[in-house]
């Protein structure tokens, strides 16, 4: 299993200059999640241009200062939560690439003087959930148990 993971890291590092491009970042993240990666493995895969956060690291959007993805570790240095914000077209590709039986629920949610429908999706088998719209009018994808 470990050998497979390191082979995966090698391929990613060879094809994406040591960091996954934003297009396939979520695929790399899903692999990291499945392999219960540690901090070093996450950095090796996603790049060294990270910011330190409590119990984890974040990566900013390339064109503006806001966390694009975040990765958090338990005391055993194992990935326990991660998130990524995806725009609608990215999310469609994400759903195509990460095959998963999604259960989707839409709820009318009141926030201050406005009411809107929020979409919640969950894939139990891969421990992924998403919310739309989330921060920045994007999809927020989360891997957590």
């Amino acid at each position: 299993m470990r050998l497979t993971f390191w082979l995966f890291l090698f391929v990613v590092s060879c094809t994406s200059n040591k960091s996954a491009s934003s297009k396939d970042r979520y695929e790399a993240m899903n692999d990291l999640w499945q392999n219960k990666a540690n901090k070093s493995e996450v950095i090796s895969t996603l790049g060294t241009n990270y910011q330190v956060a409590p119990s984890g690291i974040t990566y900013s959007f390339t064109t503006f200062n806001y966390p694009k993805s975040g990765h958090f570790f338990n005391q055993a240095n194992q990935l326990i939560v991660q998130f990524i914000f995806l725009e609608k077209n990215e999310f469609e590709t994400f759903k195509d690439k990460i095959k998963c039986p999604w259960s989707v629920e839409k709820k009318m949610v009141s926030s201050g003087h406005t009411v809107q429908t929020i979409e919640y999706g969950e894939c139990k088998s891969l421990s992924i959930n998403y919310t739309y719209p989330s921060n920045l009018n994007t999809y927020e994808i989360r891997w957590e148990k």
Binding site: A53, P54, S55, G56, T58, F61, T63, F64, N65, Y66, P67, G70, F72, V81, Q82, F83, F85, E87, M108, V109, S110, S111, G112, H113, T114, V115, Q116, T117, P133, N135, L136, N137, T138, R142, E144
Partner: protein
Amino acid sequence: MKIVFSLIILSIPLTSHAVECQWWQTKYSATVVNKHPKKGKVREHPRREYCRDRWPNANLYVKQFKDDPILGWSHKGEVFKKWSREETQLILEILPTLPSWIEVQNYNFRRAKDSMYKGNPAASELTNGSIILYDLFFKEKNKKSIIVHESSHHLYKKVAPKDIADFLSMSGWSVEVAADGKVYESPPKKLIQSDSASEKDEDFANHVESYYQNPKSYKTSYPKLYDFFKQRYPL
């Protein structure tokens, strides 16, 4: 066949004598168009009456007024009601005066009695593009600004991620990522309106409203945001 069809078409204006106008329209007597003296291609126009909107696009906008309640409306205790003609007229007078970026044509207008929030004249339902106007709205002086504010909630949904991030930064929001892996956005210390702290889109709507209502004063207080809005929402 073509001849029969042409005859039917030509006969329509001749047979429609009495023009019935809607209350948001005015009946006009048209000047008879004479046959074009030079080219002879324009035939004499026999219709003598027609309806003209009393306010620009009234015939389009009037279809956006809905009397039925919003299904699943989550503001408990709020009661929807029917539009009166006077209220509809008031809004029909306002809508054509608003800037095009408000996108008036995209909304439907609902009428409700009182907001569950004290002192609130209007609300928005973003999924179906509804703007809800409460009794209080009709007592307010700045009705245009209120509609601009509500429209801004709908506009916010279309703002690109980078632009939202820029707005948050310029407005003074701070972003923190906590150990639970959640991103928290804290409101500015100096708020443009007290309810700006409740949500980013409320802050955005308050800023757009202020920018629209008093651009000179707004430019002085928020020069960067003034430029930000001016590029996107010219006055």
